[in-house]
Structures are given as structure tokens and as C-alpha cells.
Amino acid sequence: MNTLLSAGLILLLGFIGARLLKYARLPSVTAFLLVGILIGPHVLDFVTEGIFAASDFFSSLVLGVIAFSLGENFRLEEIKKGMKQVMWISLMAALATWLLVSGAIISYLIIVGQPMYPAIVLGAAASATAPAATVLVIREYRASGFFTEMLLKVVAIDDAWCLMLAALAIAFANAMRADVFQISIVFAGVGEIFGALIIGASFGYLFSFLRRFVKTSEEFLVYIFGLILLNVGFSIAIHVSILLSSMMMGIVVINLARENYKFFEVIRTVDAPLYLIFFILAGAHLDFTILHKMGIVGVLYIIFRVIGKVYGAKLGARISKAPKPIENWIGLSLTPQAGVALGIGLVAKSTFPDFGNYIFTVIAATTVIFELVGPLLTKISLIKVGEIPSTE
């Protein structure tokens, strides 16, 4: 099969799959992932080499677009409104998940007499969430309201916490393993975050500065994609987080000029095919044959991650006096897990020669579960708080 045919099938089958699974009340994200698994290498094998080769490049573009769009939610006047709650909820949800997952797995590892340090890294990976899946669920069901707004901000901020926790975790794990605490790993983590913020902010300024040359609406798109790609490419080149830098770019763009909201609108009108391809490719990459390898550690990871998210978010909401619906449901809506966690798994794989592979396998296996179930839980929470119009 040639690459064009394969790409055509991805789009058409994704569409058909999403439409069919709508009857089963499943969100499109889940449908795309299932179609991806179906046409992926383990089942039908419709996805060609050429597409697989381009897929990491494509994913970083889509993540850049998503994170840039998330930046729109951080207008300065809005930040003042709910920022305290966003901070507390996201911090608590991430911390509690880290502590609970690490704690549970450490106890287990002590019982079976294995080294404990992998637990710390697994806990950090568990704190990550998945902005892409969350955004798509919100958009598909046209959810709106203060819960939705809060959720969008929390998944955006989350990544920063997760990156910091991951840097700390890897430094701790390394210390436990080799008996030296390398402060440089922590610094590298913090540097990565600041680097991403500085790059994103600079490209945001550049974007706003050059926009005076953009005239017709057809040009808008070329311009936006060009600059998002530039920012993403630059972030990859100097090894900082694509998600953070793109989000920062979006924040700077939306705050520099009021009329810049037009750019975000233009993106929204054309990004549907991008999301579809992104999730189908993610599905095609999901290796469900490793599910049985996750073992008891994987099961503990799953259970305590959900508990950590739900109760951590609840705690954060209570501390910052957020409204009741947020306190009750925001944790559940944070359950999707995807690329950020896998990224931590990859770092672990290259840092720890002995247990790195094991850590990666557990993260990859649990990601299969959370990618498929997470969007559904997000949908349920949005229905429970009444922010999805009940037209279905």
C-alpha cells in the first residue's frame, strides 16, 4: 500500500469509526485510538512505514498546536480570577498522585525485596495528565462553564508540575541507586522548564511583532503554522518541553493584543483532521501486547493514580475554597495519561540501565489503559457537573 492510500484510509476510517462508536456513547478520542489499534501493525497493518516515519514529527506539531491553543485560556484578567484555585488543584493532584503511587509501589517492592527507586519515577509519571485528549473531549461535547474552564487551565499547568516532579524523582532515584545525589539533574529539570518558558515567550513576542504583515485570512493559517513549527522545532533542538514552550507562546500572544484571539479561532476551524490523525497514530503506536507484562506494579499504579488524582484535587479544591462541583469531579476528569508520561518513561529508560526498561514497560502498559478509559471518565465528570448540553 502506498503512503497516500494509507493516509486516506486513516482519515476516512477515523471518521467512520467515530461515527459508529457514537452509538455506544464513546468519545471520538477513544474511537480514534481504537481505529488506530485496528489498522496498526498488530492487527490490520494498514499504516505504512512512511507514515510511521513521519509520526513523531507530526505528533510534536499537533502537541504544539494544542498547547498553543491552551494558552488562550490564560488572559491576564482571567488569571486573576481563578488562578489560586488552579494552582492548588493542579499542585495537589500532582503531588498526591506522586506520593500515593510511589508509596504503594515502594511497599510492594520492599515486600518482594527489589530496589525501590523505580517507584519514585513511576509516581512522577503518574502525576502527568493528557491535555490533547481532554481538550478534544471538551470540544466534541461542546462542554462549557466554570468547571470546563478550570479543567483546561489545570491540564495546561499540570505539565510544569509534572516536569519538575520528574526531574526531582529521577535525581532521587539516581541517588538511591548510586548513593550520590546529583543536584545537576534537578537543575537540568528546572532549566528545562525555564528554557521552555523563555523560548515560548520570545516566539510569542516575535509572533505578535510580525503579525502586522499578515493580511488575508488565508495567510493567517500559513503564518500561525509557520511560527508554531518554528517554536516546536527550536524547542526540540535545544531539548526543552514542547508543551510548555508552545503554551507560553500562546499565553504571550493572547495577552499582547486583544485582536489576537482571531488566530486561535482560525486554528479551531482547521485542526480537526490534525487531532484525528494524531490519535489514530497514537492508537497505532499503542502496544497492547505488553499489557500482561505490567504485573502487580501496574495494577497498583492504576488504582493509586486514580485515587491520587481524585483526592489530591479534592484537597486542593478545599484548600482554595473552590465550588463544590469542582471539588467533587475535577480529579476524575484528570485521568487521561499519554505522551508526557511516556516521555518520562523514555528518560528513565536511558538513565537507568538496569530497571529503566521495566519502568518504561509499566508506563506504556498503563498508558494503554488510561488512554482508552481516561477520555470516558473526563466525559462522565463533565456530564455530572452539567456542563455538557444534553442533546445526545
Binding site: 492510500l5 486513516i10 500559513v222 503564518y223 533542538a237 476551524t269
Partner: protein
């Protein structure tokens, strides 16, 4: 430049889009059409000069070019509604048939004369003549869109470049057949028959897929889904045609024709394409530029020069005669041929199949066509713009 050789793919694509975009802005000041700028930028950052485009992006060239040509052919199909075929069907056929065959015949005759004078083989002249029939819909469409050209000449031009490809396919089969008949001494009709079958099957497949898209589209509920379906379908059509060794340009165009005729609300398809394809077009032309073999230009030689001049004369005479016969607006006879000067992928395709079918002179044919394509790609869009300007159909005030 050593350090920049390792640009990652994302940065490479960003570079393409940004240099193309701002390059076009800059060169607009000297009245260069965007297409020409993209090609020049492509040549500049491509492998021959600065070599800034990462290999992985260069590897996407085929994919992007097939996709974009499919989009363009599909959109060209929209110009053939039953109403417009009734109104201007016969002029389109006359003009396209005559401009294609006149260019072919003239190039063939001139090159045969030259070959006889130089005492070399005359066989390649037939293949080169056939390639001369081809035009380049992509460049023409870009110019029309950039300068917001509209009017009778523009409409006719869009239809002529669409039909052109079919004639070129048939003519090139004749050319290759004649050439190999001369070489082997026996006439091989299978080439003609297979090429007619090729055209016929492409039309049938395009028609079927068009009807399929029409029924499929009943499930589409909003614009976002339309975007997915239209692009998915074009990729599917092009991919399937390539898989079956049919002409993807013809199948995509016929699908567009079918949709424009059987669906009473077909405009959204074509609109949904227009909204997003500018970025694709830009990348397409920059990659075309990057893939242009500018090193070949010195090898144009006398054969190439004769080819370039006689092809253009053939097109102009053919259009003038066709317009006279079918009694259309005299401005069409005068100015339309300017829009037919560009030459690109279709001609290169003829050259490639000649190289495969006919190894003896294949390399020489290929070199001539590649080298002349470079020349035509660069001057063609300017000619199209000039013609439309003269015809008074450019509405954009610069």
C-alpha cells in the same frame, strides 16, 4: 553552514513555510507572483545551493506533490458543471485539442528537421513532441487565485488546463509508439490501446469514487467533518490511482466533475479545500523548487531551445485557431495561450515513462525535458500573469 545541516524536521518545515511566506511578501514588491518566489526560495534552500532542507522533509516531496496535484485536479473538476459544459463545451474541446496537438506537431517537426540536418536519430523527436502538449495546472491555478483573476479568459483557461492532461496522455502514447516503431520497424498498437484503456479506466474510477463521496457525505454534519472527509477522499483517490497505475490527475478531476454535478450543494467541498490548502501549496512549490535540477540548465542545448520556442509557438497558434473555429470572445484567442506556458510534472512523467519504455534515447529525452521544465517553471507563472493582466481579468490592485 555546517552546524545547520542538522536541522530537525520540524525546524526544516518551519523554515520552508516562513521563508516562503515572507519571501513572497518581499518579492511582491517587484511584482513577482508567489509561485515564482516559492520556486526560487526552494532552489535557494534546496540541496543544490544552501542545503537547508532536512532529508526527511525532502522525502515527503512525493507525498505532498501527489496530494496537492490531486487537490488541484479535484477543484478544477468543479468548473465542469453540465450547465457550463453546454455553454462552452465545444470551445474547450477545440482549444485544448488544438493547442496540445499544434504544440506537439510543431515541436516534433522542428526537432525532426534539426535531427535530419545533424544526421542524428529522429525517433526521440516524437516523444519530446508529445511531452510538449502538457501544461501545469498547479502554477496556473495559483496565479489565478493569487491575483483574483476572473472573467471569460480565466474560466476558459481553467477548463483548458484541466482537459489538457487527457490529451497529453493520449498524445504521449502515440509519440512513444511512433518512436519505438521507427526504432524497431514494426508498429506496436498495444501502447495506444493500453493508454486509451488507461484514460478510460481513470475516468471510470474517478466517476465511481465521485458517486461514492456523494453518498458518503450524507453522514457529514459540520464543517470540521467536511474537512476530514474531503481531504481523506482526495488522498484515497490519489492513493488508489497510484496503486492501480492510473492517472491520479484524471481520477481526481473526474471525481470533482461528478461531485459538482450530482450534488446540489457541492460548493462546501471546494471551499473547505481552499481554506487550508495554501500552506500545502506553499510547501509543494518550495519542494518543487528544491527538487528542480538547476544543474541541468546548461545542458538544454539547441534541442532544448528549439523545444522551448516551438512549444510556445504551437500553443499560441493552436489557441488562436481553436478560438476562431469555435467563435468565442476574441480575447480568448489572443491571451489564453499565455496561461499555457508553464510545464511541470505531467511532462516529466512522459519523460520518465519514455526512459523506461525506450532506453536507447531515454536519457537524452529526460535531460531535455528536465532542463526545459526548469526554464518553464520559472518563466511560466510570469507569462500566465502577463496574459491575464493583458486580458484585463486581474482584479487585485497591487
Amino acid at each position: 553552514m555546517g552546524r545547520f545541516h542538522q536541522l530537525n524536521s520540524t525546524l526544516g518545515l518551519a523554515l520552508i513555510i516562513i521563508t516562503g511566506y515572507f519571501g513572497a511578501k518581499l518579492l511582491r514588491k517587484v511584482h513577482f507572483p508567489a509561485v515564482t518566489t516559492y520556486l526560487l526560495v526552494g532552489i535557494l534552500i534546496g540541496p543544490t545551493l544552501l542545503n537547508l532542507i532536512p532529508v526527511r522533509i525532502m522525502m515527503l516531496s512525493d507525498f505532498i506533490s501527489n496530494f496537492v496535484l490531486g487537490i488541484i485536479a479535484f477543484s478544477l473538476g468543479a468548473n465542469f458543471t453540465m450547465k457550463s459544459i453546454k455553454a462552452s463545451g465545444s470551445p474547450v474541446i477545440w482549444i485544448s485539442l488544438l493547442e496540445a496537438s499544434f504544440a506537439s506537431i510543431l515541436v516534433t517537426l522542428v526537432l525532426i528537421t534539426y535531427a535530419v540536418l545533424r544526421n542524428t536519430a529522429i525517433a526521440p523527436s516524437f516523444v519530446l513532441g508529445a511531452a510538449a502538449a502538457a501544461t501545469a495546472p498547479a502554477a496556473t491555478v495559483m496565479i489565478i487565485r493569487e491575483y483574483r483573476a476572473r472573467g471569460t479568459v480565466t474560466e476558459m483557461l481553467l477548463r483548458v488546463v484541466a482537459i489538457d492532461d487527457a490529451w497529453c496522455l493520449i498524445l504521449s502514447a502515440f509519440g512513444i509508439m511512433l518512436a519505438s516503431a521507427l526504432a524497431s520497424g514494426s508498429v506496436n498498437f498495444t501502447i495506444i490501446i493500453s493508454s486509451l484503456a488507461h484514460v478510460f479506466l481513470s475516468v471510470v474510477l474517478g466517476g465511481l469514487l465521485g458517486v461514492g463521496l456523494h453518498y458518503f457525505s450524507k453522514f457529514v454534519r459540520n464543517k470540521e467533518e467536511l474537512l476530514i472527509i474531503t481531504h481523506g477522499f482526495i488522498l484515497f483517490i490519489v492513493g488508489l490511482s497510484i496503486q492501480l497505475h492510473l492517472s491520479s490527475l484524471l481520477t481526481s478531476m473526474i471525481s470533482g466533475v461528478v461531485i459538482a454535478n450530482i450534488s446540489n450543494r457541492s460548493t462546501p467541498y471546494f471551499e473547505s479545500l481552499r481554506k487550508v490548502d495554501m500552506a500545502l501549496f506553499l510547501a509543494f512549490f518550495i519542494l518543487v523548487g528544491a527538487n528542480l535540477e538547476i544543474g541541468m540548465v546548461p545542458q538544454v542545448g539547441i534541442v532544448g531551445l528549439l523545444y522551448i520556442v516551438s512549444r510556445v509557438i504551437g500553443k499560441f497558434v493552436g489557441v488562436a485557431v481553436g478560438a476562431r473555429i469555435s467563435r468565442v470572445d476574441p480575447r480568448i484567442g489572443k491571451y489564453l495561450a499565455w496561461g499555457l506556458v508553464p510545464q511541470a510534472g505531467v511532462a516529466l512523467g512522459v519523460a520518465l515513462s519514455a526512459k523506461a519504455l525506450y532506453p536507447a534515447y531515454g536519457a537524452m529525452i529526460f535531460t531535455t525535458i528536465t532542463a526545459t521544465t526548469v526554464v518553464y517553471e520559472l518563466i511560466g507563472p510570469l507569462c500566465t500573469k502577463y496574459g491575464l493582466q493583458k486580458a484585463g481579468e486581474i482584479t487585485l490592485t497591487e
